[in-house]
Symmetry: C2
Subunit: 394 residues, 2 copies
């Protein structure tokens, strides 16, 4: 008979305590105070090594009507269930998405596919400002093509309705009628427990960790959306909470604690490029490494870019479509430091080849020289990546 996940964990001798919350870390005595949320009793638990994996939470602006029925955020599994139940039972017809990052565009598509009238409100002058301006314009185009109404440069200042949501209020005095609103303006790390314990925090108050996933306390590790990760190109610790990073950090914690307690050498977390991918209807959107937003935020200099539009397949082949490739590289030696790929039909998966190129320190010429796969159902003779590299070369 199959075991539940809980039973399987217990069977391995792991003392798993769900519905428990750690409320204090006593670093001097290497112990935590935890509360059993079922009976509200607290207890004291010593540790040899502690791992903090408290995750992140969706940012919720403090504004009128935020608690109205019909106003949602989406970060954890339970958030997803709550939203799904609401949509199934209340059958909302009009939706407003607040914010147009990865979560925003994904929910925009989901709501659009359910047949809702969807409006996206973005405080910045353009949608998805994680990607570059011309790429962002493609995202806006795809929204419009799919009858999504766009409100850029507008701030949501509140929600109104009696008991349940009826209107989303904008800073220009206008209001958008809505049965459901999704606030997706970003996430913040759950780092207060660590902060209270005096652990060092990093970018955006995420728990600062070393390449070994150690916090500023050598007996405390951290992993996942609550902590920073080393960025291979920026060469600093950043807060870019993403799935693979969290998985990799968790694994690194486990392996390093075992190594440390058995006197073996610790492994360095390899670092990230902030690689992300998403889709909006037929448009696939992928980015890695340095882009316009990183150049602006970190005041980077000496970096150039090239952008091309090509076909993902030979133009005579059925299903051929446009693909846009942008590559960032150092001006001095044309070393690749970032890339963005937008397209359809699976084109965006090409980004992983740019990820490999960046990680290996390849130049534009190295990328151009790759013996990539060619056959009409997959790519033109000259893959869009090669065309982009060639176009960028001096």
């Amino acid at each position: 008979m199959a075991l539940t996940a809980d039973e399987a964990i217990h069977k391995r001798g792991i003392d798993l305590r769900i519905r428990h919350e750690v409320i204090h870390i006593d670093r001097i005595n290497r112990a935590v105070t935890a509360r059993d949320l079922t009976n509200n009793k607290t207890f004291y638990q010593e540790y040899e090594r502690l791992v903090i994996g408290t995750g992140a939470h969706a940012l919720v602006p403090n504004m009128p009507g935020i608690s109205l029925n019909g106003v949602f955020t989406l970060k954890g599994y339970q958030d997803g269930l709550d939203l799904k139940r609401f949509v199934e039972s209340s059958k909302p017809r009009r939706a407003v998405i607040v914010g147009s990052g990865y979560v925003g565009v994904e929910v925009t598509e989901a709501f659009g596919r359910l047949g809702m009238e969807v409006a996206v409100v973005e405080a910045l002058p353009r949608v998805m400002n994680i990607i570059d301006e011309e790429m962002s314009a493609l995202v806006a185009e795809e929204m419009i093509k799919n009858n999504i109404r766009l409100y850029t440069g507008k701030k949501v200042v509140g929600f109104s309705g009696s008991g349940k949501l009826n209107k989303v209020l904008l800073d220009d005095g206008n209001a958008i009628e809505a049965d459901v609103a999704m606030i997706s303006i970003g996430v913040a790390p759950n780092s207060s427990l660590a902060e209270d314990a005096g652990l060092e925090l990093g970018e955006r108050k995420a728990i600062k960790t070393s390449r070994f996933q150690k916090t500023s306390d050598p007996h405390i590790y951290a992993a996942g959306d609550c902590c920073t990760a080393y960025h291979k190109i920026l060469k600093q610790d950043v807060f870019i909470p993403l799935g693979l990073t969290a998985n990799r950090q968790g694994r690194a914690c486990g392996e390093n604690i075992v190594a440390e307690l058995s006197g073996k050498e610790l492994q360095e977390f390899p670092g990230i490029l902030g690689t992300a991918i998403t889709k909006l209807f037929d448009l696939e959107i992928a980015k890695t490494g340095i882009g316009q937003s990183e150049i602006e935020r970190y005041h980077l200099t000496g970096i150039k870019s090239v952008v091309i539009k090509a076909r993902n397949l030979p133009s005579y082949y059925p299903g051929s479509s446009d693909v846009w490739v942008k590559i960032y590289f150092t001006e001095a030696s044309e070393v690749i430091v970032g890339g963005q790929v937008l397209g359809s039909g699976g084109s965006a998966l090409r980004l992983d080849t740019i990820v490999a190129a960046i990680s290996a320190g390849m130049t534009l010429n190295d990328l151009y020289s790759l013996d990539t796969a060619y056959a009409p159902p997959f790519a033109p003779v000259w893959d869009p990546l090669l065309i982009a590299a060639r176009t960028g070369m001096k």
Copy 2:
């Protein structure tokens, strides 16, 4: 008004002579003798630099019935037109594919999709022996799933019929009834002109070229399916005639001749990995670098491999399917030297990331450490490439 390709070329001052054939190269006087095929007149033409781009031809076995109407090969554009016309006018119902390399599987799919009963005859014990044994088994499975009849370990010894094809004869005495047969047992370089001129030939009698695309005569270059290419891992000149290689060599010829005549430095052709990709119905098949067949043919030692089966998308995501990844690496330092990816839904394009990894000299750990793109419509948190790398690591 749009120009034809010929008119456009003339307009640029290029003396293009189609329907002309070079019949002799006079290396001493740097001139060719050519025949105008329209009027059969020959003439003498001097050159400063000569480029040989004579391509390759499909191998045609010398056997009874080879000239019967209904027996085809497929290499050039005209071959494709001839076959298309035959299929449209004669409406063949039963097809036999002789050989199961890239061309063989592609025509198998094309004929299968046209509703023909298709049989594939392969002299070797397994189909597509370019790829590894377990991968080849997947190809056989896909054929059987699509009602293709398979005859492995059987040789075709002739074709019979009165005027038009009726039967394909096998070496075991059996015959397969057929209205059309496609012979796809490989290609050979068109190198007799070069051979007659005393130019050095390489693997499989292809014209031997240097990294600058020069033949053994410093005034004669060669490019494309007629010549060898430098293999980055084998570190020798091989005959693997493929589209991107031909394009790249052609460009290298042009650039290097201009550079040479203007006293500039020549560029080295970057070399190939023998990367190839194809599909058979729903199965995508991609290979690069060293595999079982290269290890056998070139007697390579000290190379290990790992093969995994994973899902191309998280298993809960619609359209998720199996993907097989095999990676070859050096035993001593786990440097990646080859890869094969089989799957569906665009999974095989992942091969290009392995191409980048090989070209950059990455180890399994380097590949495993890549910050690849994750989102459910594109990949699981741990991409199949990362799982394969991790599985292969000591």
